[in-house]
């Protein structure tokens, strides 16, 4: 037998969605094998995960809590990928966004009317994340420096800077040595939905997704972004201002991740502390690609991945499985979905030798 790979002329939407379903099923089967290998009953493990994620209204709300930063970080990756830039610095931009908004909450809020505190924090988070992403943006646009390296490296800079702040100058003097800033004043807390930890960040995410969707497919900016991303030469032919767009898109991309950091700090922790940088920026990359850079579809993917995170935590506490099993499941899923994406664009034929 010989295997031939051929490009499909007309990739069908049916095949691509069917493929997505099939790949999730296959990933679950593979994950089941992994559960089996670590000595757990796969069916029981999945039911624990499902119960953990969707077993009660509170659990569902916890899924949404984790989905919020994933949506924003996913959008951040998606918008930059549309213009052919790999922003894998979401984690750092999230952190810097958190720092920016915390600066307002900690040092400026006493001098502000309380209704102004949150809007200013939102603005500060967005701008701080955006400026942080503009460093690689500028390097890319002006000097052609590879943004994959610069965005990634700036993550570490941001995280160490955050640690420096809450271990050092911004540490809570009344915190009994606990590493973290003082609790924000209440005017700096994002309102939560009753009985849950779901905060207003969910609305940020949904509004941002809808806005991006409209901008990308209905406005001149979106058209220019899509043309520049798909074919920079054609964009030059049409006299589009590629350099300017790279700068703007990087700013907005970083701003979205920064907004995620603001929402985490002001909606969940009410301070800067260790739990701020827990990898949402990286999972955002997976979210963006699983949703095929489709802003509104991305919301569903983010919720799905959040349910894996929440359900995976249950594996650890209920079944005493290593927490890395959840990560294995996530990786398997990405692997199969990218595989199905490939199969929807190409087909494999077996032919006798």
């Amino acid at each position: 037998m010989r295997i031939a790979i051929e490009r499909r002329l007309n990739p069908s939407t049916w095949a691509s969605w069917g493929g997505l379903g099939l790949s999730i099923l296959l990933a679950l089967i593979m994950g089941g094998i992994v559960f089996f290998m670590v000595g757990a009953n796969p069916l029981k493990a999945y039911s624990v995960m499902a119960a953990g994620a969707f077993g009660s209204l509170y659990n569902i709300s916890e899924v949404l809590v984790k989905a919020i930063p994933l949506i924003l970080c996913g959008l951040s990756v998606a918008i930059s990928a549309k213009i052919l830039i790999w922003n894998i610095g979401g984690e750092g931009q999230l952190v810097v966004g958190g720092i920016g908004s915390a600066a307002i909450a900690l040092f400026l809020s006493p001098y502000l009317p309380s209704f102004l505190v949150l809007p200013l924090m939102i603005l500060a988070g967005f701008i701080a994340g955006g400026l942080w992403a503009s460093i690689p943006g500028l390097l890319k646009a002006r000097m052609g420096v590879n943004e994959i390296l610069t965005t990634l490296m700036l993550n570490y800079v941001a995280i160490y800077w955050l640690e420096h702040l809450y271990f050092g100058p911004w540490r809570d003097p009344m915190g009994m040595g606990f590493p973290g800033t003082a609790i924000f004043p209440e005017s700096a807390w994002l309102p939560r939905f009753p009985q849950t930890r779901v905060h207003l960040g969910l609305i940020f995410g949904i509004v941002a997704a809808i806005l991006l969707q409209v901008i990308l497919w209905r406005t001149r900016w979106g058209y220019e972004i899509r043309v520049i991303g798909e074919n920079p030469k054609a964009a030059r032919l049409a006299r589009m201002k590629t350099t300017q767009y790279i700068l703007w898109v990087m700013f907005v991309s970083g701003g979205l991740a920064g907004l995620a950091g603001m929402a985490e700090a002001s909606g969940i922790h009410y301070r800067l502390q260790q739990g701020l940088a827990v990898g949402y920026g990286y999972i955002g990359i997976i979210v963006a690609w699983l949703s095929r850079l489709h802003p509104t579809g991305l919301i569903l993917v983010a919720i799905f991945l959040a349910s894996l995170l929440v359900g995976g935590d249950q594996l650890q506490s209920v079944m005493h499985l290593p927490s890395s099993v959840g990560l294995v499941l996530e990786g398997t899923l990405l692997f199969f979905v990218l595989g199905s994406d490939f199969l929807s664009r190409y087909r494999i034929r077996l032919s006798p030798k």
Binding site: R218, R220, Y223, E224, E230, K233, L237, K353
Partner: protein, 500 residues
């Protein structure tokens, strides 16, 4: 040499949505030059890729002598003495000629006997008139020389059957003559040559046997003596009468729309690309610059279109100079780039997005997309320019080459430009599509001045009012297409020979 007869019997090959070869029978006799004639997409290259082991037939058999062979790779075919020079050469650019020629050979296993290889290559190039320096690196060679390396590669492997895919498309007229002499040398020894082409004159000049393919089927097996006229051959190839001479009436010339004064510019590596170029194009005429690809044309066009800076001189569009980095007004200049996929279109976006590329400001009011207006424009252009599409929401990459080019023409001409720059507008298109493109250009000439950049002499002679010949970045001469005694000089001028 005692080469065997090769027979292809009932070869059928399907690609997704296309029947590329439909039960084709073909015999290759030793000692003959076989021409495989057909339009683009007729299935010539597919058929030969099967013979050379690159593809496998869905049905049918290949026999060498009495033995049925099944190739699963090009190296299997080489073992049986069959090798192919593809249209896009397969050479390693930073290696030498000799290294490329021995690439993939199992012997020597480890050590390269460079001297020996170089001597053998030199011997071969002397015998067959394929002059090329075995120690030169590929990137410094012209396309003609690279082609010689590809042929030497096959001769070095002692191939009996050489397949050449559109070998003359990259050559100057004099290089074509040299190639033909070499091919005659090769068949004299009992080897055979298969020559894929869509150019009738070449077939008549060199072929001993002619096979005409159309839409994946064999239409005729002929010898040159059977052919009554070129028109007859063209009819076989296309299936209907082809206008070989385009009717065009002279028009009253209007104002100057493009003028170059003493322009010079550099290529990407900073070498001079064109020197002291001066000419003017008026509304109502087609001015052609003809030359072999790579003689400074693309840099010149980039300078005119404001895509690349030029170093000295002046370029005036509608009487206004655009200096160095600035660009001419997009609304009134239509541009048909040479690279349809890479620059002219956005393959992964839909027809609508592609059609508005150079006029998109019109379709966004207050930044918002005017869907209705754009769809109306799209539907109008698709029918007006006879663009065949799988469906109206298709992506640009799903169009065939000819239809994609018509889409680009539709986009550029719909703005009623007063200046049109068309770069190799029919390169790679079949006769039917070529004709449509020509007709459109002639229609546009009634209201615009057209600068046509082409390597195809026939195209230039059919369309132009005036012709400039470019060689190594210099205009060798400019003359009217009426001056018939000049026409014979164009070929030599393209190769750098000035009339003495």
């Amino acid at each position: 040499m005692g080469q065997a007869l090769i027979r292809m019997e009932g070869i059928t090959k399907r690609f997704p949505g296309v029947l590329a070869n439909d039960h084709i029978d073909l015999e290759i006799e030793p000692g003959k030059i076989h021409a495989l004639l057909g339009e683009n997409g007729a299935g010539k290259t597919t058929l030969m890729s099967i013979l050379s082991g690159r593809y496998r037939p869905d049905e049918g058999a290949v026999r060498v002598g009495e033995k049925r062979v099944r190739f699963s790779s090009p190296s299997d075919a080489l073992q049986c003495g069959i090798g192919m020079v593809h249209q896009h050469f397969m050479l390693i650019h930073n290696q030498t000629v000799a290294e490329n020629i021995t690439l993939g050979l199992h012997r020597p296993r480890f050590f390269l006997h460079r001297k020996k290889v170089e001597e053998k290559v030199e011997g071969l190039s002397k015998t067959y008139g394929l002059s090329v320096n075995p120690t030169a690196t590929i990137e410094g060679l012209s396309l003609g020389e690279q082609q010689r390396v590809e042929i030497l590669k096959l001769l070095y492997r002692n191939v009996d059957t050489l397949i050449l895919d559109e070998p003359t498309s990259v050559l100057t007229p004099s290089e074509i003559e040299e190639l033909f002499a070499t091919l005659k040398n090769i068949v004299r020894e009992g080897r055979s040559v298969i020559f894929i082409t869509h150019k009738l004159e070449e077939v008549m000049e060199i072929a001993d046997r002619i096979t005409v393919l159309r839409r994946g089927r064999v239409i005729a097996h002929l010898t040159p003596n059977d052919v009554e006229s070129r028109r007859e051959l063209a009819r076989l190839m296309v299936g209907r009468e082809v206008v070989l001479k385009v009717e065009k009436k002279p028009l009253a010339l209007g104002e100057v729309v493009l003028e170059l004064r003493d322009c010079s510019g550099f290529d990407e590596r900073g070498h001079p690309a064109f020197h002291n170029i001066s000419f003017a194009v008026r509304r109502g005429e087609i001015f052609s610059i003809v030359g072999v690809a790579g003689n400074g044309q693309s840099e010149l066009v980039a300078a005119i279109m404001g895509l690349k800076p030029f170093s000295s001189g002046e370029i005036l569009v509608f009487g206004k100079s655009h200096q160095r980095k600035a660009s001419p007004p997009m609304e009134e200049v239509g541009y048909i780039p040479e690279d349809r996929m890479g620059m002219g279109s956005i393959p992964n976006l839909n027809l609508l997005d592609n059609l508005i590329l150079t006029s998109y400001h019109q379709f966004y009011q207050h930044g918002l997309f005017q869907n209705e207006a754009a769809r109306e424009m799209r539907d109008g252009l698709l029918s007006k320019f006879h663009i065949v599409v799988p469906n109206r929401d298709a992506l640009a990459r799903q169009l065939s080459g000819g239809n994609l080019q018509k889409l680009i023409l539709a986009r550029e001409f719909s703005r009623s430009p007063k200046l049109i720059v068309a770069e190799q507008p029919t390169h790679g298109l079949d006769i039917g599509a070529t004709e449509e493109v020509w007709m459109e250009l002639l229609k546009q000439r009634e209201r615009a001045g057209i600068l046509l950049i082409s390597g195809d002499l026939k195209e230039v002679l059919s369309l132009s009012d005036r012709i400039g010949v470019i060689f190594r970045g210099r205009l060798m001469g400019v003359f009217s297409s009426e001056e018939e005694d000049w026409i014979g000089e164009i070929g030599p001028m393209m190769a750098g020979v000035k009339r003495g």
